[in-house]
């Protein structure tokens, strides 16, 4: 699905290197988790993969379903099926949540050559998916993320993911700021989407989420690269002992 090979990235405006040769192979149907200390480059990796401005790739490549994606525009990557649930979802005043979703969905459908959904079909689907995430009709009408609580924003990201049905889902700390019940809802939302053609890259600081979304592989990222990979129990090790042993081992 997504193969990242020796990805080196620096900031565009200053000579600061952030990713130092990231290697990551995610096959179709797999769930990978990335953990790592603050500032280790996890969000940067997700931004570079989805095409945000401000970063320069100095070396390496990323292929998504056999296509080199680093040259594509963000919306092209999205239409190919790459989705990022933002660590900090953005507010867009005046643009209704539903309008936003429908515009996004139909843009993607259009670029894939699929017929656009009618208003009625769309409405039916969005209502059902929102219900599963306990997002009420009132929240659907409100402007995108404006005045949403931290947890509501995160649930809204998952709703967007559920609507867009991407192939590769990157979740950047979707669990931070969620209460216990909301975390369960989000995990259920993710698990409901798990399938043999869909992969996940879950960035998190807490083992908790991984109790609900059991990963196939856990990676530890530090200083802009992946320093260790292992099974689900690696997350438990981090939870119990922190990163110091792992970092010491690596150095």
């Amino acid at each position: 699905m997504l193969y990242i090979n020796n990805l080196n990235v620096e900031l565009e405006n200053e000579k600061k290197k952030i990713l130092n040769g990231v290697n990551l192979d995610i096959n179709a149907g797999e769930v990978h988790a990335i953990m790592g200390p603050n500032g280790s480059g996890k969000s940067t990796l997700s931004y570079v993969l989805s095409g945000k401005d401000g970063y320069r790739v100095t070396e390496g490549s990323a292929t998504f379903e056999g296509r080199e994606i680093l040259e594509l525009s963000p919306d092209e990557r999205a239409s190919l099926g790459l989705f990022l649930a933002f660590q900090y979802p953005v507010e867009i005043p005046g643009v209704g949540n539903m309008t936003f979703l429908r515009t996004a969905l139909n843009s993607q459908r259009k670029s894939r050559g699929v017929e656009e959904l009618s208003a009625a079909e769309f409405l039916k689907i969005v209502r059902e998916k929102a219900k599963n995430l306990k997002i009420d009709a009132e929240m659907l009408k409100r402007p995108v993320n404006v005045g949403f609580s931290g947890g509501e924003k995160k649930r809204n990201e998952i709703l967007q993911m559920a609507m867009l049905e991407p192939k590769m889902c990157i979740l950047d700390e979707t669990d931070s700021g969620l209460d216990v019940d909301a975390m369960k809802l989000v995990a259920e939302g993710v698990n409901a989407l798990r399938s043999k053609d869909r992969s996940f890259l879950v960035i998190t600081h807490y083992q908790r989420l991984l109790d609900h979304i059991v990963p196939d592989v856990v990676h530890i990222m530090a200083d802009g690269k992946i320093i260790k990979s292992g099974g689900a129990d690696l997350a438990l090790e981090v939870e119990n002992n922190g990163y110091s042993d792992l970092l010491a081992e690596y150095n």
């Binding site: 989805s50 095409g51 945000k52 401005d53 525009s73 963000p74 919306d75 999205a78 239409s79 989705f83 990022l84 933002f86 979802p89 953005v90 507010e91 867009i92 005043p93 005046g94 643009v95 209704g96 539903m98 309008t99 936003f100 429908r102 515009t103 996004a104 969905l105 139909n106 843009s107 993607q108 259009k110 670029s111 208003a119 409405l123 009709a137 009408k141 402007p143 967007q160 867009l164």
Partner: protein, 506 residues
């Protein structure tokens, strides 16, 4: 608001985006129609004024009125206080009268109108023929779709080419016709109200208009009548080197209501064209007028060549107690716009509202706003202005709120928001406030923001392309004003927002 209603409103945003996709050309109204025209010689003088008057079969009182305006105009100098720059206009190098030859003899009905003219209107998407006019669809309160009628008067260069639904309006007692017809058929009404809101000598352009106006629309809604349909006028400048000077007069008599829409387009031309209209609204006791404009005159090209100079005087006079007026404008076109739809709140408890979206891109300049003149007690006014600048454009909000000594316990609320796209454009807010009593309240809020990269990236990450994303964000910024428009116009306006900002990012 019911769910369905809100959803449908939301659905409109989507239609915008669809409209944008289907519009290949940047300015889709930029075609000109090859119609044989009859021109008056260039320039303005007493002979030209008499000629215009004669062409319209006007009675002598009208000719005299025009001539006195001309006399005054000849003594005036062009104002230069607005924050706009343009080369000096040679008022003697303009045709003041142009009309399609096929209109030589006034058509008796739409069926007699030159099919080429009708074709032009069809290209513009204006449903001129009565059948097509039923196209406007609005969602009713219960969510069902009901058909809504819009009566249209269309003005092509200097003359009105036909007013639809005349009979049906007549049955309701509403007069809706071209102003030239009104001068002939309803002289008493015209004499009583013409120039009573915007006096002949009000300002340079209004005075010129009073002398040379060629046509425009006239509406009279009798006491207690709720006009059974939206009234609408489309203005189109087609002929080259022609000024368009239309004059609109709308009277809502006691307890009546009317909603009026105005749309404007012009072909793409290298030379600048002048448009100097006057709109007068008279609102009597307990009456209400909603006046909406979608102004999409040709804005000039990317380098600022060509485009319309739009110098317009619009004013509403709330004469009676509890009279209400609402101006809504979406200004996306014109090279230079100079326009301040105003409200004179004379009656006690009268209300004036002004909702505006002004978009300037490339080298466009707009100096626009409103005047709220509070004369009566307990009068209320509300101003919501959204200015969007992109490219090298300059966008100025200029507004006056004036509370006179007798306007006790009156209130004004002003909200002025500016949005910048890129860093070479400018936004300016110039509020003038006068308060001559101590029981009135004036509130003013202003913000300036930029289209944010993070918002754009968020949209892109969800699959929304560059221009669509800008359109979406800007439409969100304008939402308060778009919601004030009648449904049919809201869609058109959203599409226009998108079109006029094409190429503004990237």
């Amino acid at each position: 608001m019911s769910n369905t209603d809100t959803y449908e409103r939301e659905g409109v945003d989507q239609d915008t985006v669809e409209a944008v996709r289907t519009v290949g050309q940047k300015y889709k109204y930029g075609f000109s129609t090859d119609i044989e025209m009859e021109y008056a010689p260039k320039g303005v003088n007493a002979d030209i004024v008499k000629l215009i008057s004669k062409k319209n079969d006007e009675p002598s009182w009208m000719t005299d009125w025009r001539l006195s305006a001309l006399k005054r105009w000849e003594k005036l100098v062009e104002p230069n206080w607005a924050m706009v720059n343009y080369p000096e206009i040679d008022f003697q190098d303009i045709h003041y009268y142009a009309k399609p030859k096929s209109m030589e003899k006034k058509p008796k009905s739409l069926a007699e109108v030159d099919p080429k003219l009708l074709e032009t209107y069809e290209k513009l998407g204006i449903p001129l023929k009565e059948q097509i006019i039923l196209a406007g669809v609005e969602v009713g309160v219960d969510g069902t779709q009901e058909q809504r009628k819009v009566a249209v008067d269309a003005v092509f260069d200097s003359v009105s080419v036909g007013t639809t639904f005349k009979t049906e309006l007549k049955a309701a007692g509403v007069i809706f016709c071209s102003i030239s017809e009104a001068i002939r058929e309803y002289p008493d009404l015209v004499k009583k109200y013409l120039g009573s809101v915007v006096p002949q000598s009000d300002n340079y352009y209004a005075t010129l208009n009073a002398a040379v106006f060629t046509d425009g629309s006239f509406v009279y809604v009798p006491p207690g009548v709720r006009c059974p349909m939206e009234l609408s006028t489309y203005f189109r400048i087609n002929a080259e080197n022609t000024g368009q000077f239309e004059r609109t007069l709308i009277i809502a008599d006691k307890g009546s209501y009317v909603s009026y829409l105005e749309g404007c387009t012009a072909p793409q031309r290298d030379t600048n064209q002048l448009h100097a209209a006057v709109v007068e609204l008279v609102i009597e006791e307990d009456a209400e007028i909603k006046y909406s404009t979608v102004q999409n005159w040709y804005p000039g090209d990317e380098n600022g060549k060509g485009g319309i100079y739009n110098f317009v005087t619009k004013r509403a006079d709330c004469r009676g107690d509890r009279a209400k007026v609402m101006w809504t404008q979406v200004e996306t076109g014109s090279a230079v716009t100079w326009k301040y739809p105003s409200c004179i709140l004379r009656g006690n408890e009268s209300q004036g509202e002004f909702y505006s979206i002004a978009i300037t891109n490339n080298h466009q300049q707009a100096d626009t706003g409103t005047k709220m003149v509070h004369l009566g007690q307990n009068t209320k006014s509300r101003i919501v202005s959204k200015g969007i600048s992109a490219g090298f454009a300059q966008n100025t909000y200029r507004g006056l709120v004036s509370m006179h000594p007798k306007a006790k316990k009156s209130r004004n609320f002003t909200q002025c928001d500016s949005l910048l796209i890129g860093d070479k454009c400018g936004a300016h807010t110039i509020p003038y406030i006068e308060c001559k009593n101590n029981s009135s309240r004036i509130e003013h809020e202003a913000t300036t923001s930029k289209v944010d990269d993070d918002q754009l990236f968020y949209c892109h990450q969800r699959g929304i392309g560059e221009e669509e994303a800008v359109a979406l964000i800007v439409n969100g910024f304008c939402k308060d004003v778009l919601q004030a428009l009648p449904m049919e116009f809201a869609m058109e306006a959203q599409a226009l927002v998108a079109i006029s900002l094409e190429g503004s990012v990237g």
